[in-house]
């Protein structure tokens, strides 16, 4: 239990680093040096200390919204297995709990945006609910299929059934084990769902964390924003909470990806190292991806997101094929 708490706190700490690493990657790619890796954390502390300005139009809902969003991210994080080890808490169907808890945070973020009475923020809210409706089924198809294939319905349970588990480090050295794990994966029913799962999760990072090509986090034009425009009127601690919840949400999805990749037989320390390594890899690839790609036109974003659904449908086909075999 205490180890699980440490891993949980590690993930929280790493989330700021991950955001910093993306910014740094983009800066380096553009030929600049960029801000320190911990800049998002410094910003968080700075914002917490600042005083805030609140719109006269708003109601208590606006005050609740950032806290609800952060609470949702913090709670959802408790069911995510970290570094190849079980999550802080796990129970049957906790992936549904994960998705609905995050949805609760999103619901309040949207309400907070509408509460200001600003048409710009309404626009952001409108895009947010549209994209959510499109990405949600893909996540459920992936997790649902994996649940069916493994017979487990908790994220921890599903991850514990990945074929790499069967290969012990003691059986004949690191390379042999890696080869064995790859061999086990290649014949596993779970191979295609795991690959597709990673693609869908990667796309959902882009959508949920407002990255390119869905949303440009550095844009200065409100008309093209999604997430940024919903928080135009947030300031001080509220803004800090919102930023933290977005960073944590991005890291959560990243952690789900690492969970599919990291073999379960590694030692706790090696697991953590691998976890940090893969997370850094994800952050760097997001940074590079953002540097080389332009933001899509808003009307084309749904097509991009529906791509995730079609990848998820592949899994469904595999499921049907797998059980008929």
């Amino acid at each position: 239990m205490s180890a699980a708490i440490v891993r949980y706190l590690l993930m929280m700490a790493v989330s700021f680093l991950m955001a910093g690493l993306i910014v740094r990657t983009k800066a380096v790619w553009a030929g600049r040096f960029g801000p320190p890796l911990l800049q998002p954390f410094y910003d968080f502390i700075r914002l917490l200390r600042k005083s805030s300005v609140i719109s006269r139009t708003t109601s208590p809902v606006f005050a609740i919204a950032p806290s609800a969003a952060l609470a949702a991210a913090l709670t959802a994080a408790t069911v995510v297995p970290i570094a190849g080890r079980p999550a802080l808490i796990h129970f049957d169907g906790d992936f549904i709990f994960f998705a609905y808890t995050l949805a609760m945070g999103k619901f309040f973020t949207v309400l907070g945006a509408l509460d200001t009475g600003s048409s710009f923020e309404g626009m952001g809210a409108s895009r947010e609910i549209t994209f959510t409706a499109l990405i949600e089924p893909a996540f459920f198809i992936i997790m649902g299929s994996m649940a069916m294939l493994t017979g487990h319905t908790s994220i921890t349970g599903i991850y514990s059934m990945f074929p790499a588990t069967a290969y012990d480090l003691g059986q004949g050295g690191f390379i042999t084990s890696i080869l064995g794990a790859i061999g086990a994966w290649s014949t596993s029913d779970l191979l295609i769902p795991a690959i597709c799962g990673n693609i869908v999760l990667m796309m959902s990072i882009i959508v949920e964390a407002a990255r390119m090509p869905v949303d440009d986090p550095t844009t200065h034009l409100e008309l093209t924003m999604v997430h940024e425009v919903m928080i135009l009127d947030s300031s001080g601690p509220d803004l800090a909470l919102i930023n933290a919840s977005n960073t944590i949400k991005m890291t959560l999805t990243g952690t789900l990806i690492t969970g599919i990749i990291i073999p379960q037989w590694v030692s706790p320390l090696a697991g953590v190292v691998l976890y940090l390594f893969i997370l850094a890899l994800i952050a760097v690839s997001i940074g590079i991806f953002e540097s080389i790609i332009a933001r899509l036109r808003m009307t084309h974003v749904p097509q991009f997101i529906l791509g995730a659904t079609s990848v998820a449908l592949i899994v469904l086909a595999v499921l049907m094929h797998g059980v008929h075999r």
Binding site: I54, S55, S59, A71, I89, F91, D94, A125, T132, D238
Partner: protein, 669 residues
Amino acid sequence: MGIYFIAVAAVVAGGTLAALLAGKSDDSGLAALCAVTSVGIAAVAVVFLSLPVLFGGDVISETFDLGAPLGAVRCELDALSAFFAALTSITSLISIIYITGYMSSTQSGGSIGFHYMFFNLAVASMLAALVMRNALAFLVVWEIMALSIFFLIPFQRGKVRPMSAAIQFLITMHVGAVILTAAIIIASSGTGLDFSNFTAILSSGSTKGTALFVMFFVGFAFKAGLMPFHSWAVHAETEAPQGVSGLLSGAAVNMGFYGILRIIALTGATSPACGYTVLFISMFSAVFGILYALIQNDLRRVLAYSTIENAGIIGVGIGTGMLGRAYNLPLMEVLGFAGALFHIINHSMFKGVLFYAVGAVYIATGTSKTDRLGGLIKTMPVTAFTFLAASLAASALPPFNGFISEFLIYSGLLKALTPSSGFIITLGVIAVAILALNGAVTLAVFAKTFGITFLGSPRYNLSGAEPPPSMSMPLITLSALCLAAGLWPDFVMELIQAPLVSLGAAQATLISESNAIAGNVARGALLLAAVTVFVLFVRNRLVRSPASAPTWGCGYEAVSSRMQYTGSSLSGPLVKLAAPLLRLIQKRKFIPRAADIPGCEPFPARRIKYAAYSSDLIETMVIDKLLIIVRAAFDRLSWIQSGHTGHYVLYILAALALFLFAAVFRGVA
């Protein structure tokens, strides 16, 4: 059983007395008291009768010999009946309390006394229908229920739309009743009218048994508001007074589900075909119900379509349970039925709040069009926050009750693991994805509905005051219950145990396993609530004396409240994606005119008139087309209505002769 019928009779008597009292004096307070007291007494009696049945496993049963044509009428309060009876009586009590407040606040224009009388009659007939085990007696009570609700819908005299909604309700209910009657005739031929006689044919597994099940299901689905049999619900719940809409959505729809579950209980072992029928129709309802809710801009229509969507979710639960039974997956069966029963309770609670809050908004502002409202949270905080709580529950978000029931249904679908059929596994995942899509769109619908109506600033300066306590108390009570059932679902799980047993989904180990599944996720929801409160506490410590300023207009100075995002613009992008499914009709009309408005230079001077309509696909594509065929067929037969008295006498004679011959012929054969 005697006490039960005394309670039912008390409701009828109370209503009649209310009608008499309201007719005598101008003061309707006494009539209201009479109606509320009678329903209150009945609710207490019914709950006290139901508790030992639900928790002690008793079954109260009695047979009354009513003579021809009904014969021996068996009445029984088993767990399934007790569950629905307790729920109906409590929902009705809250509804009638609300109605008394609503009626005293609103402009009358109809007879309040008769309104109470038919309300009580509707409640009494629902309670009576729940215990009838004689098919003919059941049909009679079922008919009284439909008729009394028919009289409830058009409250204000002389208004066309409520009246046509009521007539549509009556016709639709009769189409359902005809199918039910046919099913009952088939099921009881050669055996008897008692429900217990139906088991043999329903459980036979033959094509006839399956067809009979589907007939019963369709007959009851009309009442349950499942798509494509939902049309009445949209119109009736939109046009009826809000208290009645609460009753329709919180009790009348449940009667349909009672019927479906009763047939399942009678059937016992179901065939997969029956399960697939229920599941497919329900998935269709869940998705299309919420998509139609998304395009509505009238609060009442949003809620009406949301009823259809929730009926779909309940149906998905029932279908899951049936498939679990058909494929011998007992945990899937228990979780599906448990989720359905749990969601029936939840839907009655949160939909009550939503309808009652909309009623309060309607009284305060005179409109229920979302795009004309805004900023109501400042003048009506109680209404707004209860509506928010109910919206969270309706969107199945933790920590509210809707989440627990949908979680149970999800869990049931994920237990569709059987080596015997790959189809059911894939179908399980598809149903999970459908529920996820439904959940995301529901979030959009309720974020829009709540956000546009209550948040921001008023769009047309429509602001109202809080409703009287008789209207706000039901709101507070029900939304508190929604939260309580979401955080501590254990009591509700206990409550649905006995109905699960009477559905045939017994086995103590499985029930305790499903209780554990609900308990675990409720601990998670409790954690979420605790973390939220904690973060909010910390946040409030950090945010001290914030400065106040207008909303940032991104550089534009002359922001007006009319520039806020409207409901239509909020749901626009999503609606556009779903438009091919919804038959959205948009009309733009440019009205050219000289640039005579001073100060509008940056904006186009011509006015644009824009209107968007959505037509219900089922109504335009199925019902209207069917009506054309039916009308054409009846036109061909119009020569029968010749208008000559002699002809009609001849028809009577011919009919009598026909029956005589038929009787003689049967006697010979």
